[in-house]
């Protein structure tokens, strides 16, 4: 029911929304909860386990009951708190966790079985027969349990992530937070002020009192205007700080567009990472419920929430309200309601000595022991001494005290401290370095106290930041002592709920204690108390008190669980913003990329690079036809392929050769200028790290080539070796991978092709040599090396000339019967020649395994040499590189067995790493690691691949299948 003249909603702007298929009207500034209450809707959901009818309990993000689905055009968001979701024109929402309609939920039958469904029911009941769990019990339970459901479609909504850096992060914009932000901002500090709500003010708005003689909202507006005018302040509304992490890093979720109709350019949410050396936690306090019998009916709400709905939204939560509270603050609920013309039937205060100043019936020393009303509260039963009586009421406002919102202070595993005075946990200073709680979050419950504490916290922060605070006056405000007495539960016949969301009652906690789950951690897991979406914000302390009572201990002795991030749920989509689809990883494109795509080449991802797989020609139906043609083209004419993805490291200095001797197994200091050598690099544990060629460009200048896969790894390794072991050597190196575009030109006509475009012919450049060259007026580098087994060259030009050179090379090659070749052909060519890739040197392979132990120089130390000599890393027991030849298809990943032996793990002889169909040799070829393989050439081995259903006899042979003498590449 809407009350005229109350609240800060904009009554000139209506918002039409839907809930469970019915149209309703709210105003701009309403939450779904306030708008539903204004429309007289009390039943909004069903509980998790018993499917009890539930209403709205709170007015904040701690809401355990009023969880709904928000339905967009293409997506559906479950478990949205009606108390947080703002209404807008076209908002479509639906209740959840029901079978049938909300009023006639078929699963409400669970409630009748409640006596059997207490804590531990599932553990005890669904144990036998064992096979039933997976097939019957679990699917049935999962269907019945759970809350909202997802649409099952991709979330196509836009999300953002952002960083912010500040001197001071202020969490919460209530009295303490606003005061802190104001003091720090006026002193010139960079301030980020974050608050969950769309409006600043916190409880100042919900309580509606006065500050400095003017309405609190006026003071809030003045402070907000000043803060917004300052360039050093960033105000983040609708932003929940969800986690405190190491070294002053905080996570926060901003609801950017969830309060508006969806637009493609409007992010739904933004996940912030905020870095601030100091932070002030001014998150206020959460009111706690009382566990009295049948305390879960729609209409039973927190007293502070009833005030919020009245003062912030202009909504009366009921027509005839009763108050059940042991706090003085709840009396304000009665006063505010009466002043607004709402009938207050009675105040029930369990404190026998509390004051009686209100003009409504007050029952001291009394308790609520029962309630009635199937889909909403109709009446309560009150016990006072020996007598009990019933009161007609449609809304009961309860308050059992306040818990400081200290969650962030325990995110680094520090448990809060119990305060007897407050009957609540309070933050431990220093629990999160740099984070200081102030105001109600620190147990200071009066408005005046909060304002003063906020100011003091800001002054302390400024002092730590080396800034001087100016004088800022604290406005006069309410300064009443925190009048309260802890009341946790009320004895009676009915069930008394602690955790509404997970349907955990006082009986469940007592039963856990009786069954020896007396530790708070055990109790939590046994009863699931605190494990619902609200993470125990409403129930933790109450459950702890009941457990303490049941086990005959005090609360501090019983202990408490800690809170972990996030404070409220964070959507994965927000944390992963930008990482969907192509945003998942950066993309690296070759200079030849467009030219390759122009020719219809499908791209293969190799690391972050995109490389052409093959270049299809008209009439070719499969990739294999193209691949076979490209292989033949290289073997018979000339092929061109882009090899720029290989890592290139430019190494210079007097000690460059000495350094290469240390990181390679073989020697490079003796390499003549103008020559290229194949090098093998080990990890310090003796396994092969990488291989590649290095060229000596000058006396003190080398160019190292790494594989594509290990380019980054090798750079990191070189940096480590140099900085850790030879920091004083005369040596510098840098990655030049992206500075050069490099193309392999291979085949019998490679020389003729290059001679047609180089300014000087290649001449007598020997195999494994390099030289400076010029092409089209551009300085180039020419290397005579081969990964195909043919006479081959690699020509490198500065990257900006790459595409032009590639197109030119292709045009010339095509006049000679040649053309481009892709990764598939490149792979076939190298397997035919027995060259290895990272499919072979996969991290568990030694130089011995690949037959290169002679490349480990005996004359010098190198990284990995000592470890490679350890027993077990060499000898006949090792699986050694061999070639395989077969007449039918074989597969990489297949395992090898002796013919006649069972295909079992015990008989495993090795495995296959690479295979291809060789058009050159007309056979299937493979590279494999086989136990004592080098001694077994000529043997027949059985290749088995269960996944691809391959069982094939293969001939074991030398891995070099084609031109073993290397005459072609040395031609």
């Amino acid at each position: 029911m809407r009350i005229d003249g109350k609240g800060i909603i904009d009554r000139t702007r209506q918002a039409r929304f839907r809930f469970d298929g019915r149209d309703y009207q709210g105003f701009k500034g309403d939450t779904l909860a306030s708008a539903l209450l204004a429309n007289g809707v009390r039943l909004v959901g069903r509980s998790f386990k018993y499917h009890r009818p539930r209403g709205i309990l709170t007015a904040g993000s701690e809401e355990p009951n009023a969880l709904v689905e928000v339905i967009g055009k293409t997506n559906r968001t479950p478990n949205v708190r009606a108390t947080v979701q703002e209404v807008f024109d076209g908002l479509e929402t639906r209740s959840q966790n029901r079978m049938g309609s909300l009023k006639h939920d078929l699963l409400a039958v669970n409630d009748l079985f409640a006596p059997f469904l207490s804590a531990g029911f599932y553990y005890k009941t669904f144990m036998w027969p064992r096979a039933f769990w997976e097939k019957l019990y679990e699917p049935a339970i999962r269907r019945a349990a759970g809350l909202g459901s997802l649409s099952g479609r991709h979330d196509e909504g836009a999300y953002e992530k952002a960083w912010a850096h500040a001197d001071l992060l202020v969490i919460g914009a209530g009295p303490a937070g606003l005061m802190a932000a104001l003091v720090a901002a006026r002193a010139g500090a960079d301030v980020v002020l974050a608050d969950e709500n769309p409006v600043l003010g916190g409880r100042l708005i919900a309580e509606g009192g006065t500050l400095g003689g003017e309405p609190a909202a006026v003071w809030v507006a003045g402070v907000e205007a000043e803060l917004r005018s300052l360039p050093n302040v960033r105000i983040l509304t609708r932003t929940t700080v969800t986690g405190a992490y190491d070294d002053g890093t905080y996570g926060a979720l901003e609801r950017v567009g969830l309060h508006k109709p969806a637009r493609p350019d409007l992010p739904r949410e933004c996940f912030w990472r905020i870095v601030a050396p100091r932070a002030i936690l001014a998150a206020g306090a959460l009111e706690r419920p009382i566990a009295f019998p049948m305390n879960d009916r729609p209409g039973i709400m927190m007293a502070g929430a009833v005030r919020s709905y009245l003062n912030r939204f202009g909504v009366a939560a009921g027509k005839r309200v009763t108050i059940f509270a042991s706090t003085d603050s709840a009396r304000a609920t009665a006063r505010d309601l009466v002043a607004a013309g709402v009938q207050v039937a009675a105040i029930i205060d369990p404190r026998p000595d509390a004051s009686v100043v209100e003009e409504v019936p007050v029952h001291l020393g009394a308790e609520v022991i029962d309630t009635r009303g199937r889909h909403g509260l109709r009446s309560i039963t009150v016990r006072k001494g020996a007598e009990s009586f019933e009161i007609e009421t449609d809304c009961l406002a309860m308050s059992g005290g306040w818990n400081p919102t200290l969650h962030l202070t325990s995110h680094m595993n520090v448990r809060p401290r119990w305060s007897e005075d407050l009957a609540a946990f309070v933050p431990v200073e220093g629990a999160v370095p740099g984070l200081f709680a102030a105001g109600a979050a620190n147990g200071t419950m009066s408005t005046h106290g909060a304002l003063t504490a906020g100011k003091a916290a800001a002054e302390a922060a400024l002092s730590a930041l080396g800034r001087v605070a100016g004088t800022v006056a604290v406005p006069a405000a309410e300064d009443a002592p925190y009048g309260h007495r802890a009341i946790w539960s009320v004895e009676g016949r009915g069930r008394a709920w602690l955790d509404f969301a997970n349907d955990v009652t006082t009986k469940d906690i007592r039963q856990a204690a009786k069954e020896s789950y007396a530790s708070v951690e055990h109790m939590k897991r046994y009863t699931t108390q605190g494990m619902a979406p609200d993470q125990g914000k409403n129930s933790n302390v109450g459950a702890l008190a009941v457990l303490a009572d049941a086990t005959g201990r005090g609360i501090p002795e019983t202990g408490t669980t800690t809170f972990r991030p996030p404070y409220t749920p964070v959507s994965i989509a927000a944390m992963g913003a930008g990482g969907r689809g192509a945003g998942f990883a950066p993309q690296r494109f070759l200079t030849s990329d467009q030219a390759s795509r122009d020719r219809g080449a499908p791209m293969i991802e190799t690391g972050l690079w995109y490389r052409p797989g093959y270049f299809p020609k008209r009439g070719e139906a499969t990739w294999k036809e193209a691949c076979d043609r490209e292989v033949a083209m290289v073997r018979q004419a000339v092929g061109v392929t882009d090899v720029s993805t290989l890592g290139k490291i430019d190494i210079q200095g007097k000690d460059a050769g000495r350094f290469l001797d240390f990181v390679y197994t073989n020697t490079f200091s003796t390499l003549p200028v103008g020559r290229v050598r194949y090098g093998l690099m080990l990890r310090e544990d003796g396994m092969v790290l990488d291989d590649g060629t290095s060229a000596r460009l000058g006396e003190t200048h080398y160019l190292m080539t790494t594989t594509t896969a290990a380019a980054g790894l090798v750079m990191r390794h070189l940096d480590f070796v140099q900085q850790a072991f030879c920091a004083d050597w005369d040596l510098r190196f840098i990655s030049v991978t992206e500075s050069w575009a490099q193309f392999a030109v291979a085949g019998p006509k490679a020389r003729a092709l290059l001679d047609s475009l180089l300014e000087m012919p290649i001449g007598d450049l020997p195999f494994m040599a390099c030289a400076a060259a010029r092409v089209g007026g551009v300085e180039a580098r020419l290397f005579r090396i081969s990964f195909s087994g043919e006479e081959g060259f690699e020509i490198a030009v500065p990257t900006r000339y790459g595409e032009a050179l590639f197109r030119d090379l292709l045009a010339r090659a095509e006049t000679m019967g040649g053309g481009p070749y892709g990764m598939e052909a490149l792979n076939v060519l190298r397997i035919e020649k027995g060259f290895i890739t990272h499919a072979e040197i996969h991290g568990r392979i030694t130089a011995f395994d690949i037959g290169m132990e002679k490349m480990v120089s005996a004359k010098k130390d190198c990284i990995g040499k000592a470890a490679a000599q350890r027993p077990g890393l060499w000898g006949p027991e090792r699986e050694q590189l061999v070639g395989l030849k077969a007449t039918g298809p074989i597969s990489a990943g297949a395992h090898l067995f002796r013919p006649g032996f069972a295909v079992e793990r015990e008989n495993d002889q090795g495995y296959v790493t690479s295979v291809c169909w060789s058009p050159t040799l007309g056979a299937w070829l493979g590279q494999a690691f086989l136990k004592d393989g080098r001694a077994r050439h000529g043997e027949t081995i059985r290749l088995v691949d269960h996944l691809r259903d391959i069982d094939m006899a293969c001939e074991v042979c030398d891995p070099v299948f084609f031109d073993p003498e290397g005459g072609r590449m040395r031609a």
Binding site: P433, R716, D719, F720, A724, A727, D861, A867, R870
Partner: protein, 90 residues
């Protein structure tokens, strides 16, 4: 988590690559017994408290760093250059 690189200043941990304990810096002589190499390569303490480990400022200055930190409190007390330590030179 943030690390203060001696060259670049305070940076988020996402800029750094973690390697392992600083033991990797104490490379045995080439002729050291196998046990020394086993210790160097594989055997590590798992301290609850102060530890020193190696990080690489991969998205920054490419310097290897020795980070002194507390595994219990997560406090980082020092970040030093590997290249600047005693023994980095031969």
């Amino acid at each position: 988590m943030r690390l203060t690189c001696p060259l670049c200043g305070p940076r988020d941990r996402r800029e750094f690559y973690y390697y392992g304990a600083e033991d990797y810096l104490n490379r045995p002589d080439a002729g050291a017994p196998g046990s020394a190499w086993d210790d160097y390569l594989h055997n590590r303490d798992n301290p609850a408290g102060m530890t020193r480990d190696l990080w690489y400022h991969e998205q920054g200055c490419a310097q290897w760093l020795i980070v002194t930190r507390n595994t219990v409190t997560h406090a980082v007390t020092a970040v030093d250059l590997v290249a600047g330590r005693q023994g980095a030179a031969t």
